[in-house]
Amino acid sequence: MLSNLFTIFLLFSACNCQAVELLYWSSSNTEEIKLAKILVNEWNELHPDIHVKVQPIPATGSSEEILLSAIMSKTTPDICSNILPAIMGKFIESKAVVCLDRFKDSEKVIVDRTGTKLTDKFRSNNGKLCQIPWKSNPVMLAYNTEIFKSLKLKPPKTYSEFINVAKSINSDEDGNGILDHWAMKVSIKTVWYQRLFDFYPFYVAATGGKTLLEGDKAIFNNDGAIAAMKFFADGFKNRYFPMLGFSRDTFVDGKTAMSMVGPWIIEYYKRLNPNLKFDFAPIPVPDNHKGPVYTYGDPKNMVIFSTTKHPDEAWKFIKFLISKKADLKLLELTSQIPTRAHIADDAYFKSFFKKNPLLKKAARQADFVVPMDDSPHLIQILDIISRQFEAAAIYRVISPEKSMKMAAENVQNIYDYW
């Protein structure tokens, strides 16, 4: 009897020793936690030898701050799926992540899914891929279809059209001298990431897909940037954007008719106001713009941290997370677009997009997106732009031309000094 028990104990111990444990940090928003749990449960059922534990990224502020702290204290998980590609430079420099060339099939798997053009945008300076492109949220113009319909308006394509639309929308219903409805919601917060959802998409659209830097050089003091800054300055001056410190989302409340958002907002708006009817349109561009309208893709990628003891198993799990089946779940549960080339025309996703035309628009836009430059000074650069945005657009104490000149000089100073 005792010997039998001893044998069972030995077998049990042996089984436990063979099971590989992986820790996976997902994003901490409700929809992505749900997605991560479903995918991990499915994986664990299929792979009893590689057990994955999912945990939302323990972020109180921005997840970038938490990841840096984790890298420093060597408490990073095996895998994380909430990586802003623009901060990868720092991670690679400090050897915090596993570059994918150690896995034989990595290049093929990623290029097959993402396409060569977009994959190349995520390569590090030495040409290596150290991140797995996962999803994007092309920033687009969301507009309230009921307001537009009632005023017989069409979504604006150019700055002039925007002004005409805005003039019709702005209204003071009770005649007390204070506006009750505004054209578009633009945040007046100066926090660095806010400009990724107003000035930067407009800049990208106005310049035909340019980013802010070329190597260590600031290249954004150009006509497109000045036009975009002028657009926001005029908008605030003419009160098309409310300057009030609202305590709620004005687009959800119907107080503003337009907002700049990514498709992830669909699920969020459903929760806040199920009756809200809206559609997506490309970001308005200067009147003389030609060619496709690009925008900021707001990509989030995956990495394997170098603290992992099981890189091969982690790579296997990641291949599962970027499979077509998992991508469909990503669309269904989070309304976010997998970084998969020409996904809107992929037969596998056809029936989904048929039922979700809003997401089909976002998926089409996903073919015309740019990420943010990979720079170790990214947060500081965006902070500089945000402060110039505040000065030139919100409070208009300097001209758009001067603001862009100063921002470019300050960014150059960062590279020269820091």
Binding site: L68, I71, K90, M243, L244, G245, R387, I394, Y395, Y417
Partner: protein
């Protein structure tokens, strides 16, 4: 022989003593001495948390001298200090004097005024952000009842910092009320009796007895308030992010930005040391003018 035993006994007692104070010593070394020494080391280095620190000599100091944002942050902090400390002392003394009297529900009011002190700073800040909200805030609602247009409490460059100072005064006042209350209750009652016999008014009592004898408490309150004001962080961090146009950017918030957003740990340490020097100078000036002893 007896002497040897006594020596051994003394050593044993000393060891037990050291064992008792060791948690504090360890805490002091780990969380005060080490960070202080390491910060001093960082002043002369550039360090981004991820790579090894690089020696830069006095570069951080030179950068600080030319950093207009730092000087703006210092000016903002001084503006906050100049609004917040007088407000705090004025209201704390008045309320403490009322609470020192035998008024109705005195214990309740003492507890009520102290309550904001023990509420988390972040919670208080979020609460006041709602009160200050331009569209739905209660302050603007009250103003609208008397026909005044909404005020951009946190969006106006002129009003944002005073608005934060008012909030900080409300939050911290309870603590200083208790200090003043202690000071008031320690003034001997016979001084007031004598002054009454001499025919002095209550106003004269206040100027000639109460205020001079509260001077040590006042110094304590001013010094503690100064430390508190110079460490202004959570209010602008949550409410304004340092805006509008950097008008609510405090030195500590600026230091935080460099340390934890930009990973400029060396420069952040330099800002910290510069701030420590400024605080020292301000406190020395305060001590010079308020530190005189009063005796009766």
């Amino acid at each position: 022989m007896c002497r040897i035993y006594m020596t051994i006994g003394k050593e044993k007692n000393e060891n037990i003593g050291y064992a008792f104070i060791s948690p504090y010593i360890i805490f002091l070394l780990a969380f005060t001495a080490y960070p202080l020494v390491f910060s001093f080391y960082l002043i002369f280095h550039r360090w981004d948390l991820l790579t090894s620190p690089a020696f830069v000599g006095l570069d951080n100091f030179i950068f600080l001298l030319h950093d207009t944002q730092f000087w703006q942050a210092l000016l903002n902090t001084l503006v906050f200090l100049l609004i917040h400390i007088p407000l705090q002392i004025f209201f704390s003394i008045i309320i403490a004097m009322v609470l020192a009297e035998k008024i109705f529900a005195r214990t309740f009011f003492r507890a009520a005024f102290f309550l904001p002190v023990i509420i988390s700073g972040a919670v208080v800040t979020i609460l006041w952000q709602k009160l200050y909200a331009t569209d739905t805030g209660i302050f603007n609602h009250l103003l609208s009842l008397i026909g005044i247009s909404p005020v951009g409490w946190l969006t106006s460059t002129k009003i944002a910092m005073p608005a934060i100072a008012i909030m900080a005064t409300w939050k911290n006042m309870g603590f200083y009320i208790i200090l003043f209350l202690g000071g008031l209750l320690s003034i001997p009652g016979h001084l007031y009796e004598v002054s009454r016999i001499e025919g002095a008014s209550r106003w004269q009592d206040f100027w000639r007895i109460t205020l001079p004898l509260l001077r040590p408490t006042m110094l304590l309150v001013v010094v503690l308030s100064t430390f508190g004001a110079f460490s202004l962080f959570i209010e602008p961090y949550v409410m304004t992010g340092g805006g509008p146009l950097d008008k609510t950017m405090s030195v500590v918030l600026y230091m935080y930005k460099h340390a934890f957003l930009f990973q400029h740990m060396g420069y952040a340490a330099t800002i910290g040391f510069a701030l420590a020097i400024v605080i020292l100078m301000v406190v020395l000036v305060q001590k010079k003018y308020l530190g005189k002893e009063t005796e009766y």
